[in-house]
Amino acid sequence: MNVIVEREKGLLELEKRIAELRTLNANQPVDLSAEIAALQGKYAQIQREVFGAMSPWQRVNMARHPSRPVAGDYLAALDRFDELHGDRHYRDDPAVIGGFAKLDGRRIMAVGQQRGRDTKENLRRNFGMVTPEGYRKVKRLVLLAVRLGLPVVTFVDTKGADPGIGSEERAQSEAIASCLYAFCSARVPIVATIVGEGGSGGALALAIADRVIMLEHSVYSVASPEGCAAILWGDAGKAEEAASRLKLTSEDLHAFGIIDEIVPEPLGGAHRDAAGLIAATLQRVAVALDGLRALTSSRLLEERYRKYRRIGAWQGRNRETLSAVR
């Protein structure tokens, strides 16, 4: 069970009671304003307690919240979206949606990993876990965007790349590797948004970008906490502990220079005001695109190179010294 959904239950109960009292207040002569105010105060207090300082594990659960806006919600909020399908070879992967789009008049190529909004859609979309064909579709759309001079905007939301037999047989590694290569060499601006869970290489395949924007309660991690716990301690059950160590929150990643900016979420999470949050996110994307538009493609590639070139932390001589030594 999602720990955030669990904690929301008490609040929903309170919300319901406040609404009831309000109805009562409106229809009856008795004045319940004081009671309502008290409940509202209590509500706000609990809300702050619950959501004010969330642990990394709570963040993970918020990122996975079943009501959290999914990539398709962002695509639907664009002025226009014309979906393009398929890898041209084998299959159209429903875990990835992509196509031509317009953002406040700006022509772009938009691509996102699509979790389902319910069980049925989740089965069809493989819970947003992309297969090799999905990554090949992304690569194809990025190359098309480069041909047409369209900036690329991505919406990242995946537990990780699909780990099934079929995906291994059809070269999942090569598919992700080619996707990374396409993003590194694309001569158009790329803006990535981490809107939900950013799980390992399967997320990075859509997230090499000139500007990486992350939602406050999204997470982005070298492995899912379950995966990390299984790898290190042979026990996926220790996911909460792993989450606490992995530095996967937006603030941690901002401090490391891995993401560029954070979009604040309403208290209680993105789904408490989906429309507002989506609009705010797209606004940030628009600003980022406008900032990148002035750069020539060579400059763009040079800055993208430097941005990733410097990510790392090690002891010993620094890069400059080494250069001199060689």
Binding site: A161, A177, Y181, V222, R245, G312
Partner: protein, 283 residues
């Protein structure tokens, strides 16, 4: 340029040193092999051809013409996440350093192979399971950048359990960093060859291992994105024996060729020779 002393010394320790008189059991066919015979057979089981995982020192000696100049060897791991579980990350690193005699999971440098000057990177599974952290990323990036400057072909032997957990997202981002370097290196028209040895998985498999001009797999190596255990847990059944082997991948079209260890150097020499091309491709 000659083989540096530290490499010769460490190599000899593995190859002929204190372990020489012991016996080793083949994990595949259970054959008990005299250590010295195994070393002479390039750590390949004489009975079932199982390729034992190879130390980077031994691999370098096997591949280069007795010369090797390391780059990036002074880049050493920090502890960016201040990671601690049963042990702290620095403690784990110290233990692996002691055990493997390596300072990190890859050795990079320049040498010649059958007379062809090359840039060479060799990962070693004995250091943190060949996981890729910031040092592995930095050393390989320096190798590719230097090779690009010198316009030399680059060969990397991979062996990796994936990204290193204890460095979190900084480890994952090495996929992006190395890919950036690979992109530049290749777009300048330089030859990039990867040799996938046992095991090559996760973030290494899903980045530079499969971004090369020629993907060579060492015989019997396990190569894949997800680990065998993860897949088995997901599908709740046993996978066929040959799943994710080099030979399986050859049939599935993922790798260009599967090469036995004894044939590796001549095979790479031929690839290097072909890469001298003949027709000028003006752009």
């Amino acid at each position: 340029m000659a083989m540096p002393e530290w490499l010769r010394r460490r190599r000899s320790k593995h190859e002929n040193g204190e372990e020489a008189g012991t016996w080793t059991k083949c994990p595949k066919c259970q054959e008990v092999i005299y250590r010295k015979d195994l070393v002479e057979n390039l750590s390949v089981c004489p009975r079932c051809h199982y390729h034992f995982r190879m130390h980077a020192f031994d691999r370098i000696s096997l591949i280069v013409d007795n010369d090797f100049a390391e780059v990036g060897g002074d880049i050493l791991p920090g502890d960016p996440l201040e990671w601690i579980d049963k042990k702290s990350y620095p403690q784990k690193l110290a233990a692996d350093r002691e055990k493997s005699q390596l300072t990190e999971g890859v050795i990079c440098g320049f040498g010649t192979l059958a007379g062809f000057p090359i840039a060479l990177g060799v990962m070693d599974f004995n250091f943190r399971g060949g996981t890729m952290g910031t040092v592995v990323g930095e050393r390989i990036t320096i190798l590719l950048e230097s090779a690009r400057e010198r316009r030399l072909p680059c060969i990397i032997f991979t062996a990796s359990g994936g990204a290193r957990m204890e460095e979190g997202m900084l480890a994952l981002m090495q996929m992006a960093k190395i890919t950036s370097a690979v992109t530049r290196f290749m777009e300048d028209g330089n030859l990039f060859v990867t040799v996938l040895t046992d095991p090559t998985t996760g973030g290494v498999s899903a980045s530079f291992a499969f971004q090369s001009d020629v993907v060579v797999a060492e015989a019997k190596a396990m190569i894949g994105f997800a680990g065998r255990r993860v897949i088995e847990q997901t599908i709740r059944q046993k996978l066929p024996e040959n799943f994710q082997t080099a030979e399986f991948l050859l049939e599935k079209g993922h790798v260009d060729m599967v090469v036995e260890r004894a044939e590796m150097k001549p095979a790479l020499a031929r690839i290097l020779d072909y890469s001298l091309g003949g027709h000028e491709v003006a752009s």
